[in-house]
Amino acid sequence: MKKSFLIKLAVLLLAMMMLFTACGGGGGGSTSAEENHLNFGLTGEPVSMDPSIGNEQNSWQVHYQIFDTLIFRANDGTYEPRLAEDWEVADDGMELTFYLRDDVTFHNGEKFTAEDVKYTVERLLESPYTSDIVIGIKGAEVIDDYTVKIVMEHPYGAILDCIAEVNFSIVCKSAVEADEAGFARNPVGTGPYKFESWSTGEKIEVTAFDDYYRGRTSIDGITFRIMNDTSTAAIALERGELDILPRVALTDKNSLTENENIAWYETDLAGSTFVVFNYQNGPFSKPEVRAAVSHAIDKEAVLEGASEGQGTVLETVLPPACFGYSEDFKGAEYDLEKAKELLAEAGYPDGFTAVLKTNEDPLYYKPAEIIQGQLSQIGINLELERMERGAFFTDAYGGNFDIAVFNTTCPVPDADSILHFYFHSSQIEAGCNLGYVDNPEFDALLTEAQRSTDSEERLELYYKANEIARDDGIYVPLYATKAAIAASKDLKGVEADPIYKCYVYDFSW
């Protein structure tokens, strides 16, 4: 009797397998174009739909669709009106007046007014997540229903970039006040799409907002699918389970570009990878040693080894996509003889031994391994210490290292967001001045550039600051990788963006 049961089971299994074969054919490859829907790949679960909390890429990808900012920054550095029709910056940079549109409604039907802007600014000022976009802002004043003034404590050169940043998305005051904790999972914005649902770990659904003030969007709905594994996401894209995958892994370039249904878009990432030193203690506290390191690193080779050559070698820590980048700036040239001389001058003719800390992320350890090899050529023997992520960041922010490779992206594409945050002495302990860099001349230039509102002048100041950084060996710039987006070939309007900004409103099938 039992044997016949096993046979029955085998038959059942066989039948099931045949069933998959039969109904599987139609399941795959169905294009979303027919139903005018977009399957959008996220590389992890978003943190929050509240723009004052969600300060990472996966949250932003959804924020771009459901919220609007006052103004929009195009990649050529010009600004376009969004919720603000027009704006004025006072000559001394202490006040910014925004004239708002009067025809905008939130997804819940409420009218958008200056009160919402004021409320948004106040929430950002309080939030511990968003201090990088409220630099210098004191508060906001409502002039009338559709005029709002942002008042500054001190002028800030990149303030418009901050206001155009996605965390500066305007939220609906009444909706937040009704349920502040719930807002993170049930956001109300003015964007082209309204939030529908969030299945934890699986997907987020949004649908077109019919009363969008710039006209209804062309694609009716978006499903954001959460893919923790980049290879899986690439396969899902090839299969048509995804239509677009911003932040696609650069290692998938070859396999995806071979597929004729997929288009690959890339540009330089607004971010950089660089070497930081312990400026205060240990062997790297000597400027000659730091300079020696900057002459001993072959950046091309690091880029080739760490990022398969996909990227741009940098002369300063600023990537091309950042304001403040100068094409004609020259960093320290690769010269081993000079490096050895400098090292001898510093009192280390035979080199020395130090610890190079890095974490388990290939963005960090791959360049670190190559630098370890390159520096051994001038007698600097680095012991590579590969740490757990959290432990590494704690040591890095605590200045507890000799030399480290660091990696940053700048959502506000301005020199200030790298130079000031990572290297100004005011950021020692209080912020992310990792190596406790303290160079008064450099500080003065950064502060002047930060507070200036004249872009010509700012460019000049940053040029000078970069010269000091090069001569003092404050950092060794390495490279900026690429920011790539892969999408179905039929999807029109897709463009690569230095910080993966992705507005589905601009797309169509």
Partner: protein, 312 residues
């Protein structure tokens, strides 16, 4: 019997408390600040302090642990550092997916593992035996992420039979279940085979054959039942591991399960979520072990009488 079950359930409590303490200590005493990981590089020291204050990450370790456990006793598992959501809600939302995955994989494991193990034992040293042992070795050795991607490439991309990701239909669970089962099926085949072989050599089996019983009857009635105890144990242990440790499979197939929640939370040092997930897994393992013990009683009447004897 009821008393036995109650005793075992009560015995779970100190185990869970012990585990909660160990995990809490590991997460809090190892280097790495949650605030730094969650707030991002631009956060100032005062932002970090604001965050720590809001999340209650300050003060004495023992005090924090006691406060946390007090919350747990009242059903309050805290809020996630990362998403500010209720931890229990996040965990509960993930359980169905993991449960389906583990059940499916366990079913595949049992349906393949036990029959193949039986055949290997009966036909010891035959081609069938060698080939099934070879397959078993192969599947244990293949890493889950590789097998998952290969299955996806073959069945999703090339043949277009099955979806690669998602949980929209039950079809989506087939590849993940196979991937997960592959790692565990080998141990089941081996344990079935070896415990069958052990029984086959017993005197009473020879007696059964001598009485003239058919091979089918001997194998099914005398050998299999007696060989079942270790097999049930392995099935139980494997199922428990699948409930808590399907991290790789869930990540590869983008399934919203407990495993992906755990790995994201560990990376971001989201301590309340890690605690809840680990305690959940501990409870699941405890319950499954209890079910295994109860299954023993069903399979082997001698054990049942032992359980009942404890009643007195």
């Amino acid at each position: 019997m009821a008393k036995f079950v109650l005793k075992r359930v009560l015995a779970l409590i100190p185990v869970v408390i012990g585990i909660s303490f160990i995990i809490f200590a590991i997460m809090n005493l190892t280097p790495g600040e949650p605030a730094r990981l969650i707030l991002g590089p631009y956060a100032s020291q005062s932002d970090v302090e604001t965050f720590n204050q809001a999340m209650g990450i300050e003060g004495n370790f023992w005090e924090r642990y006691l406060n946390y456990m007090k919350g747990v006793l009242t059903g309050d598992f805290g809020i996630s550092y990362r998403t500010q959501n209720d931890v229990l809600a996040e965990l509960v939302a993930r359980i169905p997916c993991t449960l389906i995955l583990a059940t499916g994989a366990a079913a595949i494991m049992v349906l393949i593992g036990i029959p193949v193990g039986i055949i290997s034992a009966i036909k010891q040293y035959s081609i069938l035996d060698y080939s099934s042992m070879f397959m078993a070795l192969l599947f244990t050795s293949v890493p889950g992420f590789w097998l998952g991607i290969m299955l996806m490439l073959l069945f999703s991309l090339q043949l277009e039979w099955l979806p690669a990701t998602g949980v929209e239909s039950w079809l989506s669970y087939i590849l993940p279940c196979i991937t997960l089962a592959a790692a565990f099926v080998a141990s089941l085949i081996r344990i079935t085979r070896s415990s069958m072989l052990e029984i086959i050599r017993q005197d009473y089996i020879r007696t059964a054959y001598a009485k003239g019983a058919s091979e089918k009857r001997v194998v099914m009635k005398h050998v299999l039942r007696n060989a079942m105890l270790p097999v049930v144990t392995v099935v139980g242990i494997n199922f428990a591991i699948m409930m808590g440790g399907a991290i790789v499979t869930e990540s590869v197939f983008a399934l919203p399960g407990v495993g992906t929640l755990l790995i994201t939370s560990v990376r971001m040092k989201d301590i309340p979520v890690v605690m809840a997930v680990v305690m959940f897994v501990a409870v699941v393992i405890g319950i499954i072990n209890l079910l295994v013990d109860l299954a023993y009683a069903y399979i082997d009447p001698r054990i049942k009488s032992k359980y009942s004897a404890r009643k007195r």
